[in-house]
């Protein structure tokens, strides 16, 4: 589904991604871990099309198409979804109007009729239940005044509404208490299918107890330096990143 080859990207003249190789197949869950500042959010943002970053090399093929050639909205229409590490507050824009606009833009792109009010509200009801998002929040301005946990739940609510093929979850677990974590993970798992793929960026093994990864990658200084199965996450939790850094030095 997603094929990343030798991807390089920089911001403000500073190279952050230094040749990323990653291949994600349909139905798979990949976890990306790594120390602060190693480039995890940069990778997610580049995949979602943020233009602050300049891609200086490599390629990304998504469902047979050149992903890097698309505008952010086109990527969304093609099924890419990024759950932001820091969701943006947008005062004056209602959460629901925003989602409706998003759904209708995608439908227009696909040559479909706009969603009916009834269908939309039915969907809102069903999906907000999935992540136990208070219906009051759905009606408020996008993320405005939401608590950290509410923002993260709202990201997964949006994901549920938009039904993406490839979901990139950037530290969606950070700041969640154990109950919220279970709810969010449960939401993600419910949305998973053999046609979708999920990339979760996390610092914590505890999320991976709920969203069980097929692969765990360690991103370090702009490169994926180690890949393993779910046991790798346990090992990292126990031993930290130093041993990997040391391995790097030896190489």
């Amino acid at each position: 589904m997603l094929e990343i080859k030798e991807l390089r990207a920089e911001i403000a003249g500073k190279e952050i991604l230094k040749g990323i190789n990653l291949s994600v197949g349909a139905g798979e869950v990949h976890a990306v871990m790594g120390p602060n500042g190693s480039g995890k959010s940069t990778l997610s943002a580049v995949l979602a099309g943020r233009d602050d970053y300049e891609v200086t090399g490599g390629e990304v093929v998504y469902q047979g198409k050149d992903l890097l050639d698309m505008d952010p909205e086109e990527r969304a229409w093609e099924g890419v979804f990024l759950a932001f590490q820091y969701p943006v507050e947008i005062p004056g824009v209602s959460n629901l109007n925003f989602l409706k606009a998003a759904i209708n833009c995608k439908r227009e792109h696909l040559g479909q009729e706009p969603i009916s009010a009834k269908e939309f509200l039915g969907m809102v009801k069903e999906k907000s239940k999935l992540v136990e998002l208070d219906s009051k929040l759905a009606n408020r301005a996008v993320n405005e005044g939401f608590s950290g946990g509410e923002k993260k739940r709202n990201e997964i609510f949006q994901m549920a509404m938009l039904e993406p093929s490839l979901s990139l979850l950037d530290e969606t677990d950070s700041g969640l208490d154990i109950d919220a974590l279970r709810i969010v993970a449960n939401g993600v798992n419910t949305l998973k299918s053999s046609n979708t793929a999920t990339v979760v960026v996390t610092h914590y093994q505890r999320l991976l107890d709920y969203i069980v990864p097929d692969y765990v990658h360690v991103l370090f200084d702009g490169r994926i330096v180690k890949t393993g199965g779910k046991e790798l996450a346990l090992e990292l939790e126990e031993k930290g990143y130093d041993w990997i850094k040391n391995e790097q030095v030896e190489v």
Binding site: R50, V88, I90, G92, V93, N97, A101, I103, C105, V142
Partner: protein
């Protein structure tokens, strides 16, 4: 060769229908005015001379007033239509509700004209308007009367190259209450110049809400002066929405001459193309225990330019004043510009006042967030722009106006 002002006076002379607005010796005063230049502090960023020097000898056209598109949907209220300043009874429909008087300004008596005790702002445009006034509306609300329905004035101009001096007078007697909406519009495409003056007198305990929608076409030029006089316990509110016109200068001055008053000034301006819109406001707190609140927001696109100059004056004995003023602007293009200057002038020591002005671009983070969800770039911008001005739009309580403005804002972006 006649001077610019002499030319204007000659044109105004021919159009005069209302006399008694100015003293008989005023011609001298009028001719003594200078054309404002950028060396005048008040006109620093607005080159009105360029407008005044154009040829304004075109004929006003009175028949075939095409006002359909400026009407409100299912409007339940008093409709007053002015064509080139003259009240057109065939297009208007207002009943003489008990305690409410609406009539053409030409029919107002000398005593009625004398009710407008607001001689606060002077200068070329007011003198010219007084000299060559072609008409307008006189609206009077009796003591203790709450007018049940809103009054919608459509101030329509027709005639390529024509100039109109219209004057409206609004008098709200003690504890009277009224909502007035005025739409400024013209035959689209016509090059027109209007020099409008509105005088508002709100007596003790009176309440007047004035919603102003400026939607002249792309060749409309407008210098508007609003002079407001508030007595104790009164409330005056204005929502000033500027969506059209090539050149617009709004002069709003509110004199608060009584205790326990509230004044509220809100404005939205959405500029594109080569529009130039200048909002000058002044709140003059002369008495204690009053509040005023001002919020103007602008979106400036293409090569358009905006000016905001808001002054709050708190006089020496006006203690316990709470005055808030804020202006913020979003520039959508590298060629758009705004000159914003909020001013506080405070001579009392026990007051709460704040003011500020911000200018920026649309929030890039928010733009990316919306786009990452599949919202096209143009729609995402439109959503953010609407959100930016929504704070002011929310202040519009009249639903006819609110709906109309929402519709016009959407249209503004669809072309």
């Amino acid at each position: 060769m006649a001077s610019v002002i002499e030319n204007l006076v000659n044109i105004a002379d021919k159009a005069r229908r209302v006399s008694g607005l100015i003293p008989s010796d005023s011609l001298e005063r009028l001719l003594a005015n200078n054309v404002p230049s950028r060396f005048d502090e008040e006109w620093k960023y607005t080159n009105v001379g360029k407008v005044l020097k154009q040829d304004w000898t075109g004929q006003a056209v009175y028949d075939e007033a095409n006002i359909e598109r400026f009407l409100f949907n299912d409007f339940d209220g008093h409709l007053v239509v002015l064509v080139n300043g003259t009240l057109d009874l065939s297009l208007s429909s207002f009943s003489q509700e008990d305690g409410l008087t609406i009539k053409p300004l030409v029919e107002a008596s000398q005593e009625e004209l004398a009710l407008k005790t607001v001689e606060i702002q002077q200068g070329l445009f007011i003198d010219l308007n007084g000299h060559g006034c072609s008409g307008g509306v006189f609206l009077h609300v009796d003591k203790g009367v709450k007018v049940s329905k809103p009054v919608h004035i459509i101030n329509f101009l027709n005639g390529e190259g024509s100039m109109t001096q219209s004057r409206n007078i609004f008098v709200i007697e003690s504890f009277g209450q009224c909502d007035v909406i005025e739409t400024f519009c013209n035959e689209s495409g016509d090059r027109t110049f209007r020099n409008s003056v509105a005088d508002f007198v709100v007596k003790d305990g009176g309440q007047l809400q004035y919603d102003k929608v400026q939607q002249d076409g792309i060749a409309g030029h407008h210098v508007a002066t609003e002079r407001v006089h508030q007595s104790r316990d009164s409330r005056f509110g204005i929502n000033s929405i500027t969506l059209g016109g090539k050149f617009v200068r709004n002069n709003l001055e509110i004199v608060v001459e009584g205790e326990n008053c509230h004044s509220e000034l809100n404005g939205v301006y959405l500029l594109k193309g080569k529009q130039h819109v200048d909002n000058h406001t002044k709140v003059d707190h002369r008495k204690a225990h009053c509040t005023s609140s001002e919020l103007y927001k602008g979106i400036i696109d293409d090569q358009s330019t905006g000016v905001f100059n808001g002054k709050v004056l708190v006089r020496e004995n006006a203690q316990k004043i709470e005055a808030y003023q804020h202006n913020s602007n979003v520039l959508l293009s590298d060629f758009a510009a705004i000159n914003a200057k909020p001013e506080l002038e405070i001579y009392a020591d026990d007051v709460k006042c704040s003011h500020g002005s911000t200018t920026g671009q649309l929030d890039e983070e928010a733009l990316f967030y919306l786009r990452s969800r599949g919202i096209s770039e143009s729609l995402a911008k439109q959503i953010l722009v609407r959100a930016f001005v929504s704070e002011v739009i929310e202040e519009i309580k009249n639903l006819y106006v609110k709906d109309k403005v929402a519709e016009l804002i959407d249209k503004h972006f669809s072309v």
